[in-house]
Amino acid sequence: MQRRQFLAGSAGLLTAALAPRFALANVPTPFTFDMVPPTGSREEFVKWGVSQRGEDPKFLGERFDRYGALVRNEDLWEDRNKHAFLLTPREEFVLKQNLGRAYDHAFLDIGYGVTISGPHIVGRMTSTIDVKKGEKVLEIGTGSGYQSAYLSHLTYNVYTIEIIKPLAERTRSIYDALIERGYNEFKGITSKNADGYYGWEEAAPFDKIIVTCGIDHIPPPLLQQLKPNGVMVIPVGPPGAQRVLKVVKNQAEDGTITVARSDIYGGRIVSFVPFTKLEGDVIKGTHNE
């Protein structure tokens, strides 16, 4: 997109958006699973986001720009996942001091020694487990809440566990406040403060599991609570130096269960993308510059 076009469009939308903003305590149009945000152009998406979701045009624009980068990098390859990314307000899940970098290709601090993963890795992980509507998904390590918020646009059966009590409470209050504002999709998220090592026995089995906490082995209870042919993704390694492990629980016809490990790139060697810095929707170097 041309910079001039972008500026003109943004200015118009900003004007349009500011007037109703004070009145937008609620999301104008509640989420439904057939909701499809426009992807044709930035202006179109921002306009739609302001009118349908009551969101800030600045963040909507940044989200669309990052969306473009995710698609180009093949972190999103299926429409439902693309729409889910565009519908998830990441800015609601970052700390106030990091709002300006909410859509940067970077993990950000959220306190308690926990990070909100970068949008590319969240997109890649979510695309990898390919959540279908109605599937039951378990997340170990609620953290910021962004991952489950993203998942809630793919299915209404999201369970999430956070080990750190104050973080679990903070994130729950964020969900509740957003639900209050009209984000009814977050009602599909059930959360609790507990030790995720043991999974969620009462809600098991799960079609998909996302683990976002560090551990030196895959907890056996999680493998047990994963349905046959279910998929689990687990970042391995400390924050900032992680690879994401993909685990598939295969069950043969004779009932024998085997577990196959690969990474979320499906065992292929792919080029890593250095942390890109967007200006508008154009990538301008990296954050090292």
Binding site: G113, D216, G240, S262, R268, S271, F272
Partner: protein
């Protein structure tokens, strides 16, 4: 690696007798004490800052900050060079004020730095972190500046007694290093600042009874109250953190668990050890995924977590009943017991005791364990650990309280199983990057020792974390073990290894003396299959060579796509708009092994992840001798570990460094290594700026009249860089014998500085005949250092099994000869410059010395990781040899300029 431990020396002035300080004997003694204690306080503060960073965040930043803070001495030199007249006139007041401010500034700097909340892992992605780092540097610089001004002013007025003041400076700094070592037994890390503060207080008292005058006692007392009160009373009362542990340190997580409870704590030079209990702690390092479907549940509350300097966790296993140990069979350390029944076992690193517990439960008839960290053993002898572990150390046959490799090198005992498994922390947290530390247990020489200590048919089992993609450390381990086997028994190398790994988990290498029998291979293969581990190598294993190019090229592309000289990026990024992905990222790569649509490919490894293929390629080429060619093409440096190069670090090839600068995020586990390069760069840049100060201020004219100026600069640069490189290089070397970096640093600091101080004191006697006496001294230093570079490893290896006290004593004996001689060149040249009236050259040359000592400290780890520890000492030796011809430029009177 430890970094900057420089003697707290500062700017001396030209020894013009009438400017000198005149003191009675009691006053002179007080002066020497004040100088020694102040220099000791500066050294103690250096170590304290490094300890605080090691425990609170990341040790490498401690080295970085201290290195740069020591440039305060160079800065002081430059300023005093420019304002020499003022300082000569107001030296007493300036010295007293600077000394008085040292303590409060040290306390204030620490409290300020702890409040900043610096987070190294966001250094690249968050611009605010760089600003905080700058604030840390400036804050930590201030107390060192105060120390430098005090010592500089004293030197300025001490020309007639310079040799003795210099001795006091060196010896005081050295002995106070030992005092700090003692303090580490008494204080928690947050209160270790008490050591430099106490030394500073003593220095003020001595100063007041000497040149400072008794009237200085009252303000000194006020400032001492301010410093001690600020740290010990005001900070806790105001809720200020004295040591803020980063949220991303391992212990920070344990502290957040709801039922977390600290059940053990100990302080010593071997580390600040804490242990926590919590039901939220789960360890089963490298557990097979199949455990979930083939055994009862992993028992709850089976572990406590141990942290050393806030890093960890190291899992300490509870004494479990038989019914709860079924999962041991699913751990990678169980491998040797698949084929060895009733073995005699040696555990080379006890760690948290998991390997020992597995050995005890797997039918070992005899178990010997070794642990080099005495504080860890002490913890296991405590009641709380004994109760929890069922006194695991009491259940083994023998406990060796030093490194296993040293014991095995000197014993006649032979073992059926020797285990070196996952003794280190799991590395789940990362407050910045992984530290570059010497891993002498994994070197080629160590592996040879283990292999030779096996009984006939005995098995060496080494398990390492395998969490890198592209693989790095496991490839170094493979190459190191193959090289060791080549030395021990090259005839059977192809039959002697069995290797298995679990993707992004662990890798285990089994070496059997004499080679595996067919039935043993079959058993190991069955076990590997039952565990869903990947077989990497076994005797007769077929590797499909058609995958080699694709794998090696793919990894290069993965890291360097789009970089200068690298392959092009696979997909357009900058211009393209959002749209459908056009193609798979790497259609040539192997298929997804977990995908539903696996299709048989052209080779036997279709469906295998690249890291596994790379492991197989590595072993195939290690066995058939083609590894050097493969390693050259591999994306990372896979050099073997040796006693000279004992690092699981520095994987980025030096030639690739410029190409990774725009993709640092991909290499966060290498930040420790990249930081030592950054430190060197910043040190060089800052040193150049400081050295340019006098030139900018128009001193070129003065220098131009000074004969021998070029060689004088060379001389002091060589001494500055050479001395510190010997110190830093030997600290790393001596870890091999002393087993601990902090102890090694303290011994080296004390030994080097005290013996050099004695050399300095003795140097007065050779002044009249220095033209004849100094050349042999330089030659002796150079020769000794080169000999040390070549043979010190053998000597340290030989003393490794002696009692600890004997090792400490012999360490001092080894240090003494070069350190004593290295005490001669500096005071000799300094006094001569003064006598020749080369005032300004003299002052500037000291700046050169200070700046190059910082550069040398920063260069030492870079040289060590690239060329080996021996190279650091060799280069230092060459620097001293180079200083020999330069010495004649220093003592050139100008009547017969020889060199300049």
């Amino acid at each position: 690696m430890n970094d900057r431990f420089a003697p707290a020396e500062a700017l001396p002035a030209a020894p013009v007798a009438e400017d000198d300080l005149v003191l009675d004997p009691r006053g002179r003694l007080a002066l020497y004490l004040a100088v020694g204690l102040a220099a000791g306080a500066v050294i103690a503060l250096q170590i304290d800052v490094m300890r605080v960073f090691a425990v609170g965040s990341w040790s490498h930043f401690g080295s970085f900050v201290v290195s740069l803070a020591m440039l305060g001495f160079g800065l002081t030199s430059a300023v005093m060079c420019v304002a020499k007249t003022w300082f000569q006139r107001h030296w007493l007041g300036a010295a007293s004020v600077a000394l008085a401010l040292f303590g409060p500034l040290a306390v204030a700097a620490n409290l300020y730095v702890q409040k900043l909340g610096f987070n190294a892992i966001f250094l690249v992605s968050d611009p605010a972190q760089k600003w905080r780092l700058l604030q840390i540097f400036v804050a930590e610089l201030t107390p060192f500046l105060a120390g430098a001004v005090f010592l500089g002013c004293v030197f300025l007025k001490s020309n007639r007694i310079f040799g003795r003041v210099y001795f006091a400076d060196l010896a005081g700094a050295g002995l106070c290093g030992l005092v700090f070592l003692g303090a580490m037994y008494l204080f928690r890390p947050e209160n270790l600042i008490a050591a430099p503060l106490a030394l500073w207080l003593a220095a003020m008292i001595a100063w007041a009874f000497g040149p400072g005058g008794l009237r200085a006692l009252a303000p000194f007392a006020v400032l001492a109250a301010l410093a001690f009160g600020g740290h010990f009373v005001a900070a806790p009362a105001l809720g200020l953190s004295r040591l803020a542990v980063n949220d991303y340190k391992g212990v920070a997580y344990a502290r957040k668990f709801p039922d977390s409870k600290r059940i053990y704590e100990s302080v010593s030079p071997f580390g600040y050890i804490e242990a926590y209990s919590s039901s939220y702690l789960h360890f089963a390092p490298g557990l097979s995924d199949n455990a979930a479907f083939n055994m009862p549940a992993v028992p709850a509350n089976a572990y406590i977590a141990m942290y050393v300097d806030s890093d960890g966790p190291i899992g300490v296993i509870r004494n479990l009943p038989d019914k709860d140990t079924a999962y041991f069979r699913f751990l990678p350390m169980y491998y040797p017991y698949v084929i060895k029944k009733d073995p005699k076992v040696f555990i080379t690193q006890f760690g948290g005791g998991i390997s020992t517990a597995v050995a005890l439960r797997s039918g070992a008839k005899e178990v010997t364990v070794a642990e080099g960290n005495r504080a860890v053993l002490e913890a296991f002898h405590s009641k709380v650990f004994k109760d929890f572990t069922g006194d695991i150390l009491g259940r083994v046959n023998k406990v060796i309280d030093y490194e296993g490799r040293h014991y095995l090198a000197h014993t006649q005992e032979r073992y059926d199983v020797i285990d070196l498994s996952l003794a280190d922390s799991t590395g789940l947290s990362n407050p910045g990057g992984f530290a570059i530390v010497e891993k002498f247990s994994y070197t080629r020489e160590a592996m040879e020792t283990y292999m030779r200590a096996l009984a006939a048919g005995g098995v060496l089992a080494v398990t390492l974390w395998n969490k890198e993609e592209p693989p790095k450390s496991v490839l170094r381990l493979y190459a190191t073990m193959a090289a060791a086997a080549e030395d021990v028994d090259s005839a059977h190398i192809a039959d002697s290894f069995f290797v298995a790994s679990s993707y992004l988990s662990t890798a285990t290498v089994l070496y059997k003396r004499g080679g595996f029998a067919e039935d043993e291979i079959a058993k190991l293969r069955d076990h590997t299959k039952a565990m869903s581990f990947d077989e990497i190598y076994s005797p007769g294993f077929f590797y499909d060579g058609t995958q080699t190019d694709r794998t090696l090229d793919g990894y290069v592309e993965q890291i360097f796509a789009g970089a200068a000289g690298g392959p092009p990026t696979a997909a357009p990024a900058a211009e393209a708009g959002p749209g459908e992905p056009s193609a798979q990222a790497d259609p040539a790569g192997p298929a997804d092994p977990t995908g539903p649509g696996d299709e048989p490919g052209a080779n036997g490894d279709t469906g295998v992840v690249p890291a596994t293929i790379m492991g197989r390629l590595a072993w195939a080429s290690l066995i058939n001798g083609e590894w050097p060619k493969i390693a050259q093409r591999y994306v990372f440096d896979t050099r073997i570990l040796t006693n000279d190069h004992p690092y699981f670090a520095a994987y980025v090839k030096t030639k690739d460094l410029p190409r990774v600068l725009d993709r640092l995020e991909l290499l966060q586990d290498e930040w420790g290594y990249l930081l030592i390069w950054a430190t060197l760069g910043v040190a060089c840049l800052t040193a150049c700026v400081l050295l340019a100060f006098p030139v900018i201020w128009g001193w070129r004219a003065v220098f131009s009249q000074t004969p021998g100026k070029f060689l004088t600069i060379i001389y002091f640069a060589c001494l500055g860089a050479g001395y510190i490189m010997v110190e830093v290089g030997l600290i790393a070397h001596f870890v091999m014998a002393l087993g601990n970096a902090t102890v090694s640093a303290s011994v080296l600091i004390t030994g080097m500085l005290v013996f050099s101080g004695l050399g300095s004191l003795t140097s007065e006697r050779i002044l009249p005949k220095m033209r004849l006496a100094m050349p042999p001294i330089f030659l002796a230093i150079g020769a000794l250092l080169i000999l040390y570079a070549l043979f010190l490893d053998n000597a340290l290896d030989a003393i490794g099994a002696l009692p600890y006290g004997a090792r400490l004593l012999l360490s001092f004996v080894f240090i003494a000869p070069p350190a004593f001689l290295m005490g001669f060149p500096m005071p000799t040249a300094m006094t001569t410059l003064g006598r020749l009236g080369k005032d300004h050259m003299f002052i500037w040359a000291w700046g050169v010395n200070g700046c190059f000592s910082v550069i040398g400290a920063a260069a030492a780890p870079v040289i060590a990781t690239n060329f080996g520890l021996g190279a650091v000492i060799e280069i230092a030796g060459l620097a001293y040899l180079l200083a020999l011809p330069a010495f004649f430029g220093v003592i050139s009177s100008g009547r017969k300029p020889r060199f300049a």
